[in-house]
Symmetry: C3
Subunit: 645 residues, 3 copies
């Protein structure tokens, strides 16, 4: 189904009814509203004005539209900030992050938590049982604009409490962090500071706990809202709209309190701004389509975060916030919508109904132009709505391949990259691109999530293997491929006593005795299956009684296997992963493809979808018997085909 | 005529008389003094010492030299700053900008305004009627070192007052800025902050008003000085020495209170430091001459700012402040001087008489070396002085081409570039270079300035078309060429209700329904007049009943004409502008040239000047009948020729 | 002899005896301990715990190991910082540099000086006469992490005192700095601020005195420690472990109070991080060996700082702190050790005995792995120890070539580069590489140090020629080659009245009338000895009655000679210096070589060492009669040979 984000407060009231009618005509079912409207809901301290919102919801309801109501906490009004400056966050350089845009609060501000409770309660009480309200969105885009971590006095107090709760005694903390090093020992929790602005790098264990704490604060803040909404709005779903790759907090943990995950999909902006790493050549090639794996990556990620998921904001035209903001190639709004549905989205909701001709996002397109005419996106959305009418989408099934996605791995490698190019993001991206270029469907699974039923599992890098993760890895018949640094850290960010891969070694008997990180241009080669592969970035020295499956050109072992476990003692390129994972997939009975540039596949139930991000017609890799339910065997440029298999 | 900047306070008194004598021998007429001498004029609070300045002026006067007296406000002394720390400015990061160099004050400091009044009054009273004093310079290089905008408490108070005066009510401000977006609404003017250090970008309307306010503060501060000087020094001119491209304040507005504009011309430093955009290849080619259009651009700009204008500081040799400081090629000091005169300068004044062997500018050359010997610049200045003796310069006439230069356009596009490469500066520069490479003389005209009598007018980009601008555009027979984004904004930094080009559409019936900005390397082509042109950066979608004059390769219209109005719906390159503007110029009866690399033309009355910035002799494009009054038909490298036509 | 750095406080006590035994077995003689252990020595204010250190020293002593005891001042404990926040330093941006890593103190903090006195006294009293204690190390790596200069209130007070002591009167300071410029004059010393955060650059004389002051504060702080140790620990040597190129303080001055200089040698990290300038191509080529001149440069520098010197920390494997941390090529730990010995090191001490699996340096290798097994470095160290047993190293003799190394020159050119690429570091590096590629041994000599007995002397750049320097330059028969800008400044950072080269001109009669700095790509050529050389960066105009030895292609003189003095009026490349210095060396009777890439030579007494940094075997340039005492005529890759000549 389709939806849209709408800001009635931006438009004259006499437009509302027509807007609602035209939404229905376009084929939209859901309308998200309210998430930035605090200054209209409470224009003065304690004086509430719900009249406008009552009418707005009634107007939408009258056209049969369902409402997703957002809590207005991403934008506390100025009067609140002036009364309580302790609401504001502090950046890593120690500067206050002032009012004047959005997300100007710290998750750890006790004052803000209290006012959040107050405003959410009032709104939930008023609209909790409204028949038009189908669900709720908490806040908006947690973590956007680098707002997960804050470095102010409120954060420090909360961090100390978090540490006290975790460690119990300061002796335990000193031991866990290794504070004997450089005389960093504390006598009390009150002596602990935040890890920013130190003379040289702070203790990585100090940073890791601060990152964990900051992530937990997001979850706690979200939970605070959820609990109020559940109390006053029974039977409605609760979601939050996550952003593109924002690893600063653990989305799995936040989503434990949600019913539906959702995310905001801006393929062109994400491609231009390196939200995932895109080469300069790809940036040019995909400037008007977005990189073909960026939306899919996130669809799979957020489906892993929660089985029920939406795209809450879908790019409808050029945006305003990237360094370069091209116009999507004709057809792309339709393609992106269908791709979300192929990956299992319940609803795709466009951002936004109409371009607002003022303020920060005035150059961000909507389905309608600021002169009240329909824009390109409107027609493409309407086309999808009509196409959907003739087509029943089957439920989404489990994919054959699992990718274990580990937020903590991002923190560990970011805090201590050891080599400038070693980032978790880039490594996961290599695995994902390789799998997708083979035409395989992928599920993202959290560390410790069940791997039963998968044929192939990849763990790009999980330095810290918690007990639950180990258990889940044991309980699968899948071939499991581990990337470098997996098992390389204790829970306290130290080196395991038995050296990496730590607990994994009990099961895959190897020992990493040395690692080296390499400057781009310092390459090494390895040979596997008669083929030579070149790589860089990272290389490990392994001792083992096993015979390696592949060797570096210096004769040392590069790839190790034992039973269904495979360990890559180096930074794997997409080319290598295509070959190795393709080989394993085939051995496991999975069909793989050699897809031409820009073509991508995805299955949903008995349907197979082919998406063509390229500028030329391409043939769908469908069997001769395939029955096409949308499009045909030749997939047009920036178009798609769907067939039954 | 020629002049020089002189600092008697730097040198022993027994040198002064000889210095004055040698200035006269060199052929200099004017001497600027005093602008950094506060600590010598008022060494203790309230204790003034004018004896030295009396003598210095008398000494110059005795040799028949005319004095331009600078007010010493760019450098308040330390005792004043210590007594009143509120004088200091605050940078965008919130850091105080300390004493220890120059320009250490905020234009909005009420304390500094009071002390400015005090010191200027005392000096104007003492020297206002001195026979040697021909004119005054207020302060020095407003805006240099990023000093137009300040972000401290004094600035905030003044900004709130400025907003209150502009909007009257907070409701009007909220509506104008669109503050309903993101709950940015204010209840009172006291709630408004400065737009820096927000979590993500602040409202562009907030920024634009802050930029306007900051520009107005410069004008108000300058006016404060001017009014005092006018009172005590009747009959003397008042000027200020502007810098190379410093768009942070509206020079037209500041100059309303001046009699003479002047500017400080450092061709080599400006070329090395990208004051105007110069390619790496040009930086190498013109390392010792400066880019051939940089001085001319500013001459034309500041002649537009005020018909009477000087070069107050002319580079005389290597300077100290650029990243690289080459020695000017032999002859360039003479060439630069003549080029200023060709463009209409009343006086060219060298900075400075003698290189001072201490402090920040010790490696900045003067006409004389620190060992009291003449330096290269001395001889070249003297040569110009002698050449001028035999030549009467006619008055400067109106040029055939007008370029509408719009400071506000710089602010609008800087605040909201929408594409990283879209800068007003670069766009104006493209237009200017194209015109100058055609051998056309150009007048810079302020928005709203009269365009009567011009054959061709270019408006590189004026997003906000004020009433006066529209009127002036109507009152001309010139062909008018508008660049992209013209008319794209309301006065309040919003999108016009009828979409861009806003009010211009009443007259040139087109509608820009979408824009896109492009990463370098994402190119598009257009065809005009049978020729194909490639561009990038910016492209617009236009709806119109008109037939386009040129089309993009996707079939959409790229260039639109109606009557004498032309609209470029894309980022125009120099190559395209050369072709199109040359075509229009010819159609309007103007002769154009295809000048070889490094050669430039300029007319003053019946005289035509050719300047050769290149390393090889070039032929002057003079008619066979031309009578050469300086140089000849072959223009030597780094030389010039002048002929009567 | 060999040594190791050891942290007993990191390990269980029951390991200590075995560690000591294995150190002895490895062939180590010295063990440095204690320098980061303050929180263990004084866990609460005033409560000391020496029991563990007593036992640790006793355990080492029992195996016959000698101890170098470090004072724990690089890491004051948190309780001390909390009680006295004035201990902390302030960075140039005005931000406090917080506790949480190391070196979190300002040298100017009076509180910290007092607590330093307290802790050093207690430790020196307790261990001063211990038979195991052979020597002391003060603090650790002064200046590391940009800690020489601090910009807080304590620093300001100390700076004013330093200025008062230097100048006596404020009038003298104003005159010396040229404060009449820009009204920078002060009325009292209390008006003086630190030179950071000014609107544009502060007075270079202000900066230079601040740099000198900051350097002096390091020396004073070190002396404070030394005086206490001398009092309580007679007969023991005192050293400090300097870092790779850290020009912020004058090491010659600090070393005046030491007996032994030592330094910390990390060839791979220094190569990756541009501690000395290494081209990208060299970074790749030498990624696993380090640039072949980087260790030698520092050996020669610190031997110049003090005739007795150690390598206190020798890289034993991959480190953690560079952007890329490769594994040293097999053999390199041995090669580095031998090269230090060849250059005259008394002791080479490895950092560290065992990799600590926690905190900041957990990925920094040691001689042993965190799983208590020997790592690669252990075996290579043991090999050197065994090789040393059969070989008596002769004393180090004076080299034939002297390089005058001038810390103040780094400050002067950094404060006022005049051209972005002009850095003292790069210029010295060019001279050094040229000499070393000729196979010449080099001594570093401080300005004013004796040059008697040398055949060739180079002064890459000494802008300020103090009296002692002039005297030393007079008292030598060596050919002396001066680089550009030598003699170009007065003691007060001004231009000499007679222009550069100032006092040198009395003796080498030239006058530099103009300089120019050039953007990379703006090249010039000069011809010498029938050969053409290209350069960039810097070029001078010289007036002289002498005939130049070499000319630029514009006909001006480039190289000037008088008697034994040579002046280079340009930025010399390695290629030019190889040719010119090689020519002078040969004329002075020195044998030079044309060494193949990666091969380097060094003599110690009658022994000649050849080191092969390359990946291929190379022939040693030994005479046919040479008797090899280690290795042979063919030097293996990453290996060495030693012969008697």
């Amino acid at each position: 189904m389709l939806g849209v984000c709408y800001y009635p407060e931006h438009w004259p009231r006499d437009r509302w009814a027509e807007d609602a009618r035209r939404m229905r005509e376009c084929g939209l079912s859901y309308v998200r509203i309210g998430e930035f409207s605090w200054s209209r809901l409470e224009p003065e301290p304690g004086r509430f004005d719900f009249e406008w919102l009552d009418q707005a919801i009634a107007t939408l309801h009258a056209e049969g539209l369902q409402v997703v109501l957002g809590t207005p906490t991403p934008t506390p009004p100025k009067w609140l900030v002036d009364r309580h400056p302790d609401i504001l966050a502090t950046d890593r350089e120690g500067r206050l992050r002032k009012f004047g845009s959005r997300r100007h609060y710290s998750f750890s501000s006790r004052t803000y938590q209290a006012h959040t409770r107050r405003i959410v309660t009032v709104i939930a009480q008023r609209y909790g049982n409204h028949p038009a309200v189908a669900g709720w969105q908490t806040d908006n885009e947690y973590g956007c604009h680098d707002t997960t971590r804050s470095y102010g006095p409120e954060d420090l107090l909360a961090f100390r409490e978090w540490l006290r709760a975790k460690y119990g005694s300061i002796e335990a903390l000193n031991a866990a962090w290794g504070n004997v090093f450089w005389s960093m020992e504390y006598r009390t929790f009150e002596e602990i500071d935040l890890p920013n602005l130190t003379v040289t790098e702070a203790n990585p264990a100090h940073w890791l706990d601060f990152y964990r704490f900051s992530s937990d604060q997001v979850a706690a803040y979200n939970k605070l809202q959820v609990e109020i909404i559940r109390q006053y709005s029974p039977g409605r779903f609760i979601t939050h709209n996550f952003m593109g790759y924002t690893p600063d907090f653990d989305h799995f943990k936040v989503a434990e309190d949600l019913d539906v995950a959702s995310w905001d999909s801006y393929p062109l902006g994400f491609t231009d701004m390196d939200v995932l790493p895109v080469s300069e050549e790809e940036k040019l090639r995909y400037a008007r389509t977005g990189h073909p794996d960026i939306p899919a990556f996130h669809h799979d990620l957020y489906r892993g975060v929660k089985p029920r998921w939406w795209v809450m904001e879908q790019q409808p035209g050029p945006v305003n916030w990237a360094a370069h903001n091209p116009s999507p190639a004709p057809g792309m709004v339709r393609l992106w919508t269908w791709e979300a549905l192929a990956h299992g989205a319940e609803v795709v909701s466009y951002f936004r109904w109409r371009q607002f001709p003022q303020a920060q996002e005035q150059k961000h397109a909507g389905l309608n132009r600021p002169d009240f005419q329909p824009d390109v996106g409107y027609w493409e959305a309407q086309q999808v709505a009509r196409e959907l009418e003739g087509l029943e989408l089957p439920p989404t099934q489990q994919a054959p391949v699992a990718l274990v996605f580990d937020y903590e791995a991002d923190w560990v490698t970011r805090i201590q990259p050891q080599g400038r190019e070693f980032t978790y993001r880039d490594l996961v991206w290599n695995f994902y691109q390789a799998l997708r270029s083979l035409g395989l469907d992928v599920d993202f699974v959290k560390p410790g999530g069940s791997l039963e039923g998968y044929r192939l599992g990849v763990v790009p890098c999980s330095p810290i293997l918690h007990e639950a993760t180990i258990r889940a890895l044991h309980n699968t018949q899948a071939q499991l491929v581990f990337g470098p640094r997996t098992g390389s850290k204790t829970e306290s960010m130290g080196i395991p006593p038995n050296l990496p891969p730590g607990k994994l070694a009990e099961w895959l008997p190897i020992r990493v005795t040395r690692v080296e990180s390499l400057r781009p241009g310092v390459n090494f080669a390895l040979e596997w299956n008669g083929q030579r592969y070149t790589s860089s970035v990272w290389k490990e020295w392994v001792e083992s009684d096993l015979a390696p499956v592949a060797k570096f050109d210096d004769g040392r072992g590069a790839l190790w296997q034992h039973d269904n476990l495979h360990y890559l003692a180096f930074w794997p390129t997409v080319a290598f992963l295509r070959a190795y994972l393709g080989h394993l997939a085939n051995r496991q009975g999975l069909q793989t493809f050699s897809l031409s540039e820009g073509l991508r596949l995805r299955r949903r139930g008995h349907l197979t979808f082919a998406f063509n991000y390229g500028p030329h017609e391409q043939q769908a890799p469908a069997s001769p018997q395939a029955r096409f339910v949308l499009g045909g065997r030749m997939v047009p440029p920036h178009g798609l085909s769907i067939w039954e298999s």
